[in-house]
């Protein structure tokens, strides 16, 4: 049965590749990149194992724990989980849930990150080549660690999905994000204290933890030893404990990692059982809205109608809310490093970042519309109305928002002098990214979660196309923003007021220019490719 899941996943993958050459190229690039990283990590581990196996073992423990953490947390914020094998699709087959879970878990390995993690985990086990009798223990630890990655990511996304699909998405995500952010400050303090303690110990000659006695080795050993007792690192630290002959520790860490797996499995099992009988339903049940809403406020032209529809979606559609939540998190995220670096000027970065996020948020609008876009093609909306309509709500809302963010940041940091330069960079970025988005959303459409689907689901085979498309658009933005950002940096470093004001003027001019040109090019592409765009979204898996 598990083998069948594996075969199904491979068949589905092969079929996606058969659909388009770009998917093949994307996958090839991703694999090449992943194998490069794997080879580098394995080679480093084996070289380290030749010099000092124990420190290397501790380093592997720390790296492994970070990998597990990434597998657990990243899908919640970015990318989502590959839903090629959506458990919902197996409901009618009466597959025992235990078999279903095992099949899904194994099939979860068949993805670029999955294969890369498994290969790296297996490869770094051979860091113990000087003491080959430890390699089986290392392989066992790696297997448990990879299992924790895969099962943990599934368990956490499945368990959180009902929360994140609700209308309180923003609040939930924000709450989930704030916990680690709040912990950063104390963590940095604690880590530096520990490092201080370790270095005083080693320099004080009281403890010689490592063969070469380096402070770095001691620090790594110290943290490795600590992480080894957490659910994240226990599995990875098995070979170190075996090497030390600390059989009590071996048993305890084995127990920790097995218990972690058991708990994760249980969470996954329970939440999947619940999810299978309560499929996601979009929207709020029986929710109502009075009258025309935004449609009464925007002008009654096709352009105004598109703008009103987009404004409504920004508020109503949880898939858009992720972008908004980041905007409100930005000041919090920047506050801590600004405080620890004792330079509140860092806060001024919030402006350009918010501008960039806002502008970029409309870079795949038609992908978000999905086949509802047929209405635009059927009614023959022209490119100008469609493009401007999608840009205007962001422009109306975004411009004052960016200005407010910059003003607040300037007030908090007291650096009023740089205000014109920063404002120029922000407005320039907003106009530029909106212009580039207008072009890219008419040219590069890629699959996103469909309307009503969980924002956590990443559509089958989409990751590569998404990344390539976004990367291209970002490169263009980066290249085109050189003049104003360059001026801005000059203004900031030279503290020259005149250059600051010039930056502001150039930023505004650039914003207008790139926005108008971008929308015009985008409109032309849209007019030419409307039906093709529709066919493209209809072809999404």
């Amino acid at each position: 049965m598990v083998a069948q899941f594996l075969r199904l996943k491979l068949t589905l993958l092969a079929n996606t590749l058969r659909r388009s050459v770009w998917q093949v190229i994307g996958l090839a690039v991703a694999l090449l990149y992943a194998f490069g990283v794997v080879a580098f990590l394995v080679a480093t581990a084996i070289a380290g194992g030749g010099r000092d196996p124990v420190v290397t073992g501790h380093a592997i423990t720390i790296a492994g724990a970070l990998a597990v953490l990434a597998w657990w947390v990243v899908p919640v914020f970015a990318f989502g989980v590959d839903q090629t094998l959506d458990p919902q699709r197996f409901t009618t087959f009466a597959i025992p849930r235990r078999t279903l879970l095992a099949g899904l878990a194994v099939a979860g390995l068949v993805s670029v990150p999955g294969v890369a993690t498994a290969l790296t985990a297996a490869g770094v086990s051979f860091a113990w080549w000087r003491e080959p009798w430890l390699i089986p223990a290392a392989l066992l630890g790696s297997a448990l660690g990879v299992a924790a990655c895969i099962i943990g990511s599934r368990a956490i996304t499945t368990a959180l999905a009902p929360l994140l699909e609700s209308r309180r998405y923003r609040e939930v995500l924000a709450a989930f994000a704030i916990v680690p952010i709040v912990l950063i400050g104390p963590a940095i303090g604690w880590i530096s204290e520990e490092i201080g303690a370790v270095s005083s110990e080693t320099t004080g000659d009281s403890v010689t933890v490592t063969a070469d006695g380096s402070v770095l080795g001691a620090v790594v050993a110290r943290f490795g030893e600590l992480v080894a007792w957490t659910p994240l690192g226990a599995a990875w630290s098995l070979p170190v404990a075996v090497h030390d002959g600390a059989w009590g520790a071996v048993a305890a860490r084995l127990a920790i990692s097995l218990a972690t797996l058991a708990v994760l499995w249980l969470i996954w099992d329970r939440s999947l059982a619940k999810a299978l009988v309560t499929p996601a339903v979009g929207g709020g049940k029986g929710a109502r809205s009075k009258g025309l809403g935004w449609f009464a406020r925007f002008p009654d032209t096709p352009m105004g109608a598109v703008a009103a529809r987009c404004a409504t979606y920004w508020i109503r559609d949880p898939r858009y809310s992720a972008g908004i939540s980041i905007i409100f998190l930005m000041p919090v995220i920047l506050w801590l490093p600004a405080q620890s670096a004792e330079n509140l000027g860092i806060l001024l970065l919030a402006g350009p970042i918010v501008a960039w996020v806002l502008g970029f948020s409309v870079s795949n609008e038609i992908g978000y519309d999905y086949t509802a876009f047929a209405l635009h093609v059927a009614t023959g909306v022209d490119g100008r109305a469609d493009r401007w309509g999608r840009v205007l709500p962001v422009l109306y809302l975004g411009t004052p928002l960016v200005v407010i963010v910059v003003l607040v940041a300037a007030a908090l940091s007291g650096q009023w002098g740089v205000l014109p330069a920063v404002l120029g960079v922000c407005l320039g970025t907003l106009g530029l990214t909106l212009g580039v988005s207008s072009v890219s959303s008419a040219r590069l459409v890629y699959p996103v979660p469909k309307p009503g689907e969980s924002p956590l689901k990443s559509p089958q085979g989409a990751a590569m196309a998404t990344m390539v498309a976004q990367m291209l658009a970002m490169l263009v933005v980066a290249a085109l923003s050189v003049p104003v950002v360059g001026l801005g940096i000059w203004a900031l470093t030279s503290a020259n007021q005149l250059v600051g004001w010039i930056t502001l003027l150039v930023g505004i001019a650039e914003a207008v220019l790139f926005l108008v040109v971008g929308v015009r090019i985008g409109a032309r592409i849209y007019d030419r490719r409307g039906p093709e765009l529709l066919q493209q979204v209809q072809g999404f898996p």
Binding site: A296, D300, R309, R316, T371, L534
Partner: protein, 287 residues
């Protein structure tokens, strides 16, 4: 006017023997009869290929003004592909589409202005309320807000959706969704309505109401094209019918001409073929 195409259509493109599977034929422009500028919809030599599969092959069709035209055919016959190409949603590989003499693919905005389209298998902007969706469709057509408001109100009343005007479309049932999509297609008073499977998932009462609305519309000079699997419905409702199979029109004309002295369903099965007797399914018998 009736013409039997199908097996003996012009030159069988690519030397195809009648009845062979539709794969492996290369679409090519064909010289055919000129389009009929007086027809509500006139399709000539339409081809569409998806990968290796030819969905529509050299299809000709004329829909007279003021007709209630049924398009019937088995699953995968190319009905949706044909209607998508006829309404500007899907660009044909070859062939022309004329809407009352206007070339749709050369002047899409003019031609689309007179068409009301209910596509099958696409979603709606379902985070809008029913009223907002219909309003959106009207405003996209360039109508002013007052006219849209007035018409939206009467359309919602006609579709029996007034009570749900402020409910989000995502919470509508399948039948209500069809009705709101139909209302969106009619808001700009099109001269021709092209409806792909309008009665799918619609309950009998609503279907009867929709039929009345469409019949009224035809009486007042509009043209309606519907695709359907339900022969009985087409025989009762439509005055013209085209039977489509394997991407071609197998028979077209008034309902009486096409069916002769048979029922439409029997005629359809004769033309399309593919009736099999259920043999070898004895294991399915529960006793």
């Amino acid at each position: 006017m009736t013409f039997e195409t199908g097996p003996q259509t012009g030159e069988p493109a690519g030397g195809r023997a009648p009845g062979t599977p539709s794969d492996g034929v290369t679409p090519e422009p064909t010289t055919t009869r000129p389009p009929d500028p007086g027809a509500a919809l006139s399709l000539r030599g339409l081809w569409k290929r998806f990968g290796q599969k030819v969905a529509v092959r050299d299809l000709d069709l004329d829909v007279p003004v003021g007709s209630f035209y049924g398009l019937v055919g088995p699953n995968g016959a190319g009905k949706t592909t044909t209607l998508s190409m006829a309404t500007g949603l899907l660009r044909p590989d070859f062939g022309t589409v004329q809407v009352r003499g206007t070339d749709l693919w050369a002047h899409p905005e003019q031609a689309k202005a007179t068409l009301g389209i209910l596509p099958d298998g696409v979603r709606l902007f379902d985070r809008l309320t029913g009223l907002q969706l219909v309003t959106y469709a009207g405003l996209l057509r360039g109508m002013d807000r007052d006219t849209v408001a007035e018409r939206a109100k009467s359309l919602l009343a006609a579709m029996d959706l007034t009570a749900d005007a402020n409910t989000y479309v995502v919470d509508y049932s399948a039948g209500m969704t069809k009705k709101i999509a139909l209302a969106s297609a009619m808001i700009h008073a099109p001269r021709t309505l092209v409806l792909d499977e309008p009665f799918e998932a619609v309950d009998p009462v609503s279907a009867a109401n929709i039929r009345d609305i469409l019949a009224d519309y035809v009486t007042s000079g509009g043209t309606v094209i519907v695709s359907s699997h339900v022969m009985d419905l087409v025989q009762r409702m439509c005055d013209h019918v085209a039977i489509v199979g394997a991407g071609q029109v197998l028979a077209a004309g008034t309902v009486d001409e096409v069916r002769g002295d048979q029922t439409l369903e029997d005629r359809f099965v004769d033309l399309v073929g593919g009736r099999t007797r259920a043999e070898g399914l004895e294991w399915l018998h529960s006793s």
